[in-house]
């Protein structure tokens, strides 16, 4: 099949997944800007999409893997839209996108 990957390219894609996921997770820990948070969440979701496509290839079912990846893209877009709508509303209500300023709820 055309989409068979060599062992080396599987490793490269796998490293890419870990890198994307790691950047997303570490970024989420250090940033407090809502727009950046949405972008970092998207990075993590992209790692998962890449993972789906790679898993399909490794398991010998590239078609299934790709269709799962496309579905993840669709669902993930919905989440991104809601997150951005939330960011717009936060900016309107609070006048800032910095989450450090949002702390009315006590633990």
């Amino acid at each position: 099949m055309m989409s068979e990957l060599s062992a080396q390219s599987v490793q490269i894609v796998f490293a890419g997944i870990i890198l994307l996921f790691g950047i997303g997770l570490i970024g989420l820990m250090i940033t407090r800007n809502l727009i950046k948070i949405v972008i970092l969440l998207q990075l993590m979701a992209k790692a998962a999409i890449l993972g789906m496509a790679l898993a399909g290839n490794v398991a010998g079912k590239p078609g299934l893997g790709q269709s799962l990846a496309v579905t993840v893209i669709v669902v993930d877009t919905v989440v991104a839209v809601i997150a951005l709508a939330l960011a717009v509303q936060v900016q309107k209500t609070w006048g800032t996108l910095d989450l450090k300023d949002l702390s009315t709820l006590r633990r």
Binding site: M44, G51, I82, V90, T93, L102, S103
Partner: protein, 505 residues
């Protein structure tokens, strides 16, 4: 023909949610003064109609056993667990739509509210029926998306926005974790279907790693302890009807999703899932209770008490997996149902008092957090709501004639039948936690009945009948099922055996 009832049960809410939205927009343009009543009645009609395919599906299930629906490569299976989850979601959804009429009147966007509630109910019903990992994730994410919209319904209220941001970010990380887990399972086996995976032999390290990813991912929604920080904010800031749904169904739906996944990943590591669930249960019970003890706001207190009740459900199911006690699974699922009723009632009653105290102003930009001292003397002004709240919290605390006692009792009995010192110690710990929880439930009842009315309560408005009927229904249910637990056995027994079968019991 008869197969169609299950199809209708799953897809009717998903079709009706956009219809309700469009209907609301159309009414808003032509007859703005009708919108509240019209949209509420339409949503209530949809919820009422959804019971017809549900009842037909239950009867079909009783005759033929699990119902499988096949669409090309995707299949959905309606079994005991699906019917249990669907029953809780439909019952609470219907009551919440009924309850919300007064709360939503005069507010912008009530068509969005009702269509999101219907969509969320539909997604939960679908989640119970999913038969492969990926399908499960899609329904789970659909449920999460509709609940984001509902948590931030008061979108001009800063605290609600903050709760919504927290909830969305944590949930999104959880869902990515689940996806990575699915990708790993798919890469190792080439399968995502539950039957195929249960037959596949995965190596132990892979099973443990994937199980950890799923526990973390779904654990965000279930509010397992390190991942629980969104829950008190989201539950306290959502409209009260939504708090009831979030606490009564959504976290339980996450629990069912986790159990489905762990059930197919059993292999030879199955007893360790039981241990894992029991340890998480102990942590959840203790932390939930300790945090609830120091809350000042009623809704935050109830939200933290949800943490401890998730612990009881996990304990029952953990006992079932670890010791092969089917009674534990039944007890855990019974507690799922009884917690839905009791916590739903508690949030609806607290919401009614918030509605009363905020008066007729309907000011959505302010957070009318009802504090514990505002509860003082509520029984003088609102005798019925006070009774409902008291019955709900005493049931949650596990007082004997009420349903909360019955479900906890069943879990504890299964624990002692397991004949293991560690499990028995854990059951004693759970019972002590139950006593500890009375330390914050009992003062609420005391304040409601024995103190002089607080300013907020004394100046409150009358409660509409549309709020009191759902509370009356739930109060009766909490008392009736407490006296006759057999009333819900038709739901719990098939669900318990389906769950035990998944874990090889």
């Amino acid at each position: 023909m008869s197969v169609n009832s299950a199809v209708v049960m799953i897809f009717l809410p998903l079709i009706m949610a956009p219809v309700i939205y469009l209907f609301g927009r159309a009414v808003e343009k032509t007859r703005p003064e009708w919108i509240t009543t019209a949209v509420n009645s339409a949503a209530l009609l949809v919820m009422a109609v959804m019971w017809i395919p549900y009842v037909l599906t239950v009867r079909q299930f009783a005759v033929n056993g699990p119902i499988e629906l096949v669409y090309g490569e995707v299949s959905l299976v309606v079994d005991g667990v699906s019917l249990l989850l669907a029953a809780v979601a439909l019952a609470l959804g219907t009551l919440v739509v009924f309850y919300s009429k007064a709360q939503m009147s005069g507010k912008l966007g009530d068509e969005k509210y009702y269509s999101s509630v219907i969509a969320m109910t539909g997604m939960i019903i679908g989640l119970g029926c999913a038969n492969d990992l990926f399908n499960l994730w899609v329904w789970f994410e659909g449920m999460a998306v509709s609940s984001y919209l509902l948590v931030v319904f008061y979108r001009d209220r800063p605290s609600a926005l903050e709760a919504g941001v927290k909830y969305l970010v944590q949930s999104a990380i959880g869902s990515v974790t689940v996806l990575i887990g699915i990708a790993l399972v798919f890469a190792y086996t080439g399968e995502v279907g539950f039957e195929a995976l249960a037959a596949a032999n995965l190596a132990t390290p892979v099973l443990l790693g994937v199980g950890a990813l799923f526990t973390i991912g779904f654990g965000v929604k279930i509010a397992l302890v390190p991942m629980h920080t969104w829950l008190p904010d989201a539950h306290a800031q959502a409209p009260s009807g939504i708090s009831a749904l979030l606490s009564g169904v959504v976290i339980e739906a996450g629990l069912i999703a986790l159990l489905r996944v762990l059930g197919v990943l059993s292999g030879d590591v199955m007893p360790s899932w039981g241990v894992l669930l029991m340890v998480l249960a102990a942590v959840n019970m203790l932390l939930g209770n300790l945090m609830a003890l120091r809350q000042k706001q009623v809704k935050r207190l109830l939200a933290y008490s949800s943490l401890s009740h998730v612990g009881y459900m996990l304990l029952g199911i953990g006992i079932a997996i670890y010791a092969g006690q089917p009674g534990g699974a039944q007890g855990g699922l019974f507690h799922l149902v009884s917690h839905g009723m009791m916590k739903g009632l508690a949030f609806l009653a607290a919401g009614a008092l918030i509605y009363a105290a905020s008066g007729a102003s309907h000011d959505t930009s302010q957070d009318h957090g009802l504090t514990l001292s505002d509860l003082d003397g509520a029984a003088r002004r609102y005798p019925f709501t006070a009774l409902a709240l008291s019955i709900a919290v005493l049931g949650l605390g596990g007082l004997p004639p009420l349903v909360g006692f019955m479900s906890k009792w069943q879990i504890f009995v299964a624990g002692f039948e397991a004949q293991s010192v560690a499990v028995a110690a854990l059951v004693v710990f759970a019972a002590l936690n139950s006593v500890l929880s009375l330390a914050y439930y009992a003062p609420m009842v005391n304040a409601v009945y024995r103190r002089q009315p607080s300013a907020a309560i004394a100046g409150g408005v009358d409660l509409p009948v549309s709020m009191q009927i759902p509370m009356a229904v739930l109060t009766l249910a909490v008392i009736a099922v407490g006296f006759w637990p057999r009333l819900v056995y038709w739901l719990i027994v098939p669900a318990g055996s389906a769950l035990s079968a998944a874990f090889g019991g």
